[in-house]
Subunit: 467 residues, 2 copies
């Protein structure tokens, strides 16, 4: 439940920002105190909407003086509660800082405020004959500041890398209230520690991103999409190898038949009549006729080996988009079932053995639950969604998932994997951080936090607890 904001807290904030941009009403507290995770009750004390770097700096300095906890807030599409305010914090929403500030065709770069929506940046680049390649299902709501704070990945990582790879400049306000102007759009700059990379993926715990310069690139030429039906889990990596060696892949995505069932139930057309336990979606550059020949050769080879039992290829951009819905609509189609999500990664080479182990583990531990598998398998990244049985209450369900997590993450640790591939740690993965980062590393993380945020005012309690 949201609390009424203390009048003196609001009054203090209103000395910094106009009254209309300091909100304490229940609706705003409820909407801006949460993200796409559904297991926390939002309870911020206030929500502020700065419109300039100066205002962000003033807010941070005020927070230092008053020992207020600040939670940065973007598109609130996060899945690890990194932007949840459930402890009376002040939410700093960047949604009013949403201007595109500069574009340079020679540098192929764009400078933006943090509240620019991912899809708007993609469209802005496209209008200029260029391409911003970080892409994922939440593109219509997520904001660039949040993408950077979580080092967002998504569906094109196999070809274009992560958000980290596209940030050539970053302005941040640290927990000391300092404004840092990092790297300024340079391609090469070997002048000491690259602080830019420290802030990328730091989930707002070291500084708030107030401006970013992003590189753009040449758009891919006419990508084509295939969806293939696989009879067995262990065929996935063989199919991956067959396509990767012949084509420039831009995506290699995986989903199981349960996921397909939920998407088809929303009215997305079936790719083919065949149903199989698993499917992959392959996207590749179709710049030359020989690319299509190579794709068909891979398809025939995989079929001859028995790795695939059916398949379809897009003949138009519209068909390609329709096939993508099979993969991209999964998250939304599962949402009504309040899935408990795990977003894990292993090295690609470890994936077959790891998948076989957890498949057996889930069959044993979740006999009565519906478990849906999908993910960016070409990056070794798997999303596992456990659907809440309709008659279970949320707390009991989460506790049961946490019990199985111990078994899952012990397996993951043996395979050298990550408990959060791309969703970040936030609150949701905090209890499990030690399965990926050892105690010595976490001590260094805490020491870095103390350097940039010595008063502990920036997104406190996210990623790790204070020592």
């Amino acid at each position: 439940m949201t609390q009424p904001a203390p009048a003196d807290l609001l009054a203090g904030l209103r000395r910094l920002l106009p009254e209309a941009r300091v909100r304490g009403d229940a609706d705003t507290l409820a909407s801006h105190g949460k993200d796409w995770t559904r297991f926390y009750t939002p309870a911020p004390a206030a929500v502020v909407f700065p419109v300039s770097i100066d205002e962000v700096q003033a807010l941070v300095r005020h927070a230092i003086a008053e020992r207020l906890a600040l939670v940065p807030s973007g598109g609130r599409t996060g899945l690890s509660a990194g932007a949840v305010a459930a402890q009376g914090e002040v939410v700093v929403s960047f949604e009013r800082m949403n201007r595109i500030l500069d574009f340079d065709a020679v540098d192929r770069s764009v400078t933006v405020e943090p509240g620019v929506i991912t899809e708007n940046l993609q469209g802005y680049a496209r209008e200029r004959g260029l391409f911003y390649p970080v892409d994922f299902a939440a593109r219509g709501s997520s904001q660039i500041g949040g993408n950077i704070a979580t080092n967002a990945g998504g569906i094109k990582v196999i070809r274009y890398g992560l958000t980290r790879d596209w940030v050539s400049g970053l302005k941040v306000v640290t927990g000391r209230g300092d404004l840092l102007d990092l790297n300024r759009g340079l391609i090469k700059n070997a002048t000491g520690y690259d602080l830019r990379h420290l802030f990328i993926g730091s989930e707002g715990t070291l500084g708030f991103i107030v401006e970013a310069t992003l590189r753009l690139t040449t758009p891919p030429r006419e990508p084509a999409v295939m969806v293939l039906a696989l009879p067995a889990l262990d065929a996935v990596m063989a199919v991956f190898a067959a396509f990767r060696e012949r084509l420039q892949l831009t995506a290699f995505e995986f989903f199981d038949d349960r996921a397909l069932g939920h998407v088809l139930a929303r009215g997305v057309p079936a790719p083919f009549a065949t149903r199989a336990p698993y499917y992959v979606l392959v996207e590749f550059d179709h710049a030359h006729a020989e690319d299509m020949d190579a794709a068909l050769a891979a398809f025939e080879h995989a079929g001859a080996q028995g790795w695939i039992v059916d398949g379809v290829i897009s003949a138009s951009e519209t068909q390609a988009k329709t096939l993508w819905r099979l993969r991209e609509d999964i998250t939304e189609s599962l949402a009504p079932r309040q899935p408990y999500k795990n977003d894990i990664a292993v090295r690609v080479s470890r994936a077959p053995a790891f998948l076989a182990e957890i498949d057996a583990l889930f069959a044993r531990e979740y006999p009565s639950f519906e478990v849906v598998w999908f993910g960016h398998i070409g990056d070794g990244n798997l999303h596992i969604s456990v659907l809440k049985p309709v008659d279970w209450d949320a707390a009991t369900f989460v506790a049961e998932c946490a019990r199985v997590n111990v078994l899952l993450f012990e397996t993951l640790r043996r395979h050298g994997g990550s408990v959060s591939a791309e969703h970040g740690v936030g609150l949701v993965k905090k209890p499990w951080l030690g399965y990926t980062r050892d105690a010595v590393e976490i001590d260094y993380l805490r020491a870095l936090k103390a350097v940039f945020d010595p008063h502990g005012i920036l997104n406190p309690g996210k990623i790790f607890d204070p020592a």
Copy 2:
């Protein structure tokens, strides 16, 4: 002058490592106390050659206890004196840690000790049908550990990025003696601050790199090379744009006629009879016939505009290699003249205005000096070599270069540039760091140093001085 090593220091080190791998002889001190910079007199107290991570940890712990300064040493090809030991330090050479430990064809990754020579890694990848794309003239001597410690760039950055972009795992021993195993080869891993990126480019001041996992990629298909003659500096960026919009460039390199003269004097064949003030070398993927058509279209367009006055294109791999020598042999051809090097970068869009300003500046300030220009202009990165007049002594020459540096770096600062694009800071650029990183940033760099190396034993005095 090198000093005789104190007997007790050597005795202490020999309790950790066998006697043959703890050297105090004058030859070893002289050879291992310096890099390719020539303005410092090597004066280490000892040189040690560990062969394992355990030995490196033991050395660091010993250094903490005895307050010894340690200087990491790789191929010693650095140009900023990052690996110079001129203050009685103990040099830790990684040349005996030169094994390739693991290769995985599915992950397309290789795990190496830090002393593996760059060219050996490139060859190892090639033998397996893969490609390690970081490449530069010192490839035959430089080592992977040094490449990572300086975030080496080189000639393929325009297409493949920097060393940073290829490191998927890193083991480091910090200045506290802790062994950190960072990222372990994962593609996606969103579990808190990415310490890996903090160590990349930190020049051995935060930790010593003891193992690395590097990604490999698909080799480029039959790259073709053009060398073009340009009548004027301001044509460079126009030619760049003409080629970039039509082709997938893998290199776009620049050099002036003085540089060409030095290379031709070594017996490298001239590309064509024409001499012009400036030249560019363009390398591009020649995977399809239409790529060559596009290259010729760019060539014709540039010629029609008067941006180029002559040109040649490779018809074979051998010819491509010969053309590359025009660019790659520059450094070696200048070496006898003890050049004072500046390795600077600006945003590509800023390059024309910046180049015009420094061209005028140098004409005014260096009227009697020979100034040679070359660089990775497609990255905004220019190497400027001022050749020492034969009759000047080194100290007077360096002092004169430092005087002009103030003017150069003031210009650079106005254009938002970097005083070290890819050579690092070391000792050479330390006095100029403030032209690229502001005082507040440098304070944070110092604070990070204190976290990872609180005793100040790792490469002390490099990048910045203690507060």
